[in-house]
């Protein structure tokens, strides 16, 4: 579904990514791991569209999206979350979700005045969907609170919910477990897995190996901006190169 090939990106002469590649299969959870400085976040930015790579291609469903701005990627069903939660703090939890709903007529000024019925109907449908999503992750009771009042873990969930409102084909998760208490990580993992079962494709960057082990169908290991190896979780933990990368760099 998503394939990244030969992506290279340098910042001020220092290469963050060198010929990086990976692909995410439909309805699978693809994990991306690697020690600090491996270029994982940069890779995610490239896929999300916030950074244009120096070279390489990002393809979504066979379409080249390398140069597409982020909001158009969202229209194609590709959405990402952030490592440090970026909730829209003055909006309520519900509004955070509704915002993500694509193709709302109400976002065009004139339609609010001339097609109020359609806008209202869409809004009601969106609210219903949002409530269903919130219900599912157990945030329904917080719907009317401003997003800034949520705990770190809840914010991560909120980001995930927001992504779901897009009816995405594929969600990129940037460290969903970071800064989240262990029980919450388990909850987030469960949500992700059940969504996968419903047909959503995931790409996850994560440090928590438990989460990776629990979730990922396939894991790519990066080190120093390059692909190191990939395979199932059990494959890669057995790989000496991975151990070396994690425990002591490459020689």
């Amino acid at each position: 579904m998503l394939s990244v090939t030969g992506v290279t990106k340098a910042f001020g002469g220092i290469a963050a990514l060198r010929e990086a590649q990976f692909s995410a299969d439909t309805r699978r959870i693809t994990g991306i791991i690697g020690p600090n400085g491996a270029g994982k976040s940069t890779l995610l930015y490239v896929v999300g569209g916030l950074i244009t790579p120096d070279a390489g291609k990002v393809m979504l469903d066979g379409e080249d999206i390398t140069e597409l701005p982020p909001f158009k990627r969202a229209h194609l069903g590709l959405v990402r979350t952030f490592q440090i939660s970026r909730e829209l703090s003055e909006l309520t939890v519900l509004e955070n979700l509704l915002l993500a709903r694509p193709g709302q007529s109400g976002e065009t000024i004139w339609k609010n005045f001339f097609l109020p019925g359609r806008v209202r109907a869409e809004e009601e449908a969106a609210i219903e969907r949002a409530c269903a999503i919130l219900e599912r992750v157990g945030l329904r009771h917080l719907a009317d609170n401003p997003a800034r009042a949520l705990s770190g873990g809840q914010k991560k969930l909120l980001e995930l919910c927001r992504a779901l409102m897009i009816d995405p084909k594929i969600i990129l998760l940037d460290e969903p477990g970071a800064g989240v208490s262990p029980p919450m990580r388990v909850q987030i993992s469960e949500v992700i897995r059940s969504l996968r079962d419903e047909g959503v494709t995931f790409v996850i960057i994560e440090h928590d190996m438990d989460m990776i082990a629990r979730l990922c169908d396939r894991v790519y290991v990066f080190a120093e901006g390059k692909n190191l190896t990939d395979g199932s979780f059990s494959d890669i933990v057995a790989d000496q190169r991975v151990i070396d990368a994690y425990l002591g760099g490459l020689d």
Binding site: G48, L50, P69, P70, F71, K72, A74, H75, V79, R80, F82, R86, E87, L88, S89, E90, L91, T92, L94, E95, L98, L99, A100, R101, P102, Q104, S105, G106, E107, T108, I109, N112, F113, V119, E122, E123, I127, C131, E135, G138, R140, H141, L142, A143, D144, N145, P146, R148, A149, L150, S151, G152, Q154, R162, I166
Partner: protein, 315 residues
């Protein structure tokens, strides 16, 4: 007395319309506009010139709205890549340029002599002694219309999207919002509203000159928005009434106190306004009214409130 109040209310109404524009641009979308006085002058002069050319007040108003809208859109486009404080400086500079052009292009604006005899809407159809009341009524109507329209927008998905842009434009983009388009739209829409205010100012005064559009006006509008509550339109209306009450109320001070001369009293008044602004920012940054937030009224299904409270400690 009544006629005096009508005058004051008419001026409040015009400031309120400006406030509605600023609330849209700054309160809702986070785009600070320090050039309100300049855009206002642009609107007023456009309306006056079109009106004086005999096109009628309706055409004049539409022209003012269009010109201001376009000017705002251009400024927004130019400032796309800039952070908020640069936009502030850019708009301030734009206001200065408008002031200089209005002052110096005598062939068009009569420079500092100003444009007298601007025709008023429905003049002649209404008995002259009642005209001010009707005009205030018209202004009230315009405000009501704008207010309802803006409230509707604010509560619509569009309003949500621009609030999201204000909070975090990267997230908004990630969620599929065309941030550039939204920002330009909002700033232009604000410009349209400022243009309407400018047109009504022209009609009300019947004479405009550059000195009516000094930078202090921008300060007043900011003060009204801050006092009322950023992003709340009803708060803004209250704020501008309160502000005008302070400004005009201090006029009566000098009828009572004779210790200070008029210069000093005027200075005191402006000091009070400055202090008010500072104190509001320090002690009541959210203003008197909170911004609108969509809520679902359905009863809560899970009775888990207690545990929620402990969980939702903010960082």
């Amino acid at each position: 007395m009544v006629s005096y109040l009508v005058t004051i209310l008419s001026l409040v109404a015009i400031i309120s319309i400006l406030g509605l524009a600023l609330n849209l641009q700054w309160g809702l979308c986070g785009m600070v506009n320090f050039g309100i006085a300049g855009f206002f002058a642009l609107g007023a002069y456009t309306a006056a010139l079109v009106d004086l050319a005999g096109a009628g007040t309706l055409v004049a108003t539409v022209a003012a709205a269009a010109v201001c809208g376009i000017a705002c859109a251009l400024v927004a486009l130019v400032s796309l890549r800039l952070s908020d404080e640069y936009l502030a400086i850019l708009t301030l500079g734009f206001g200065e340029v408008v002031r200089l052009v209005v002052l110096n292009e005598e062939w068009l604006t009569h420079g500092s002599l100003g444009l007298p005899g601007i025709p008023r809407p429905f003049w002649g159809l209404i008995p002259e002694e009642q005209y001010e009341y009707w005009f205030l009524g018209m202004l009230g109507g315009v405000i009501l219309l704008l207010f309802l329209a803006l409230e509707k927008l604010l509560r619509s998905p569009f309003g949500r999207a621009i609030r999201a842009v204000r909070e975090d434009d990267v997230v908004a983009a990630t969620l599929g919002k065309d941030v550039v388009k939204l920002r330009v739209k909002v700033f232009a829409l604000g410009g349209v509203i400022i243009g309407i205010a400018g047109a009504f100012h022209s009609f009300y005064m019947t004479y405009i000159d550059p000195s009516q559009f000094s930078a202090i006006l921008t300060a007043y509008v900011f003060m009204a928005v801050i006092a009322g509550g950023r992003a709340s339109n009803s708060g803004l209306l209250l704020g501008s009434v309160g502000l005008m009450a302070v400004i005009e109320g201090t006029r009566f001070l000098k009828d009572i106190f004779n210790i200070f001369d008029a210069t000093q009293l005027s200075a005191i008044r402006l000091i009070l306004i400055g202090l008010g602004l500072i104190l509001l920012l320090i002690f009541r940054p959210q203003g008197c009214f909170a911004e609108y937030r969509l809520k679902i009224k359905k009863p809560e299904k899970e009775p888990r409130k207690a545990s929620v409270q402990t969980e939702t400690r903010t960082t």
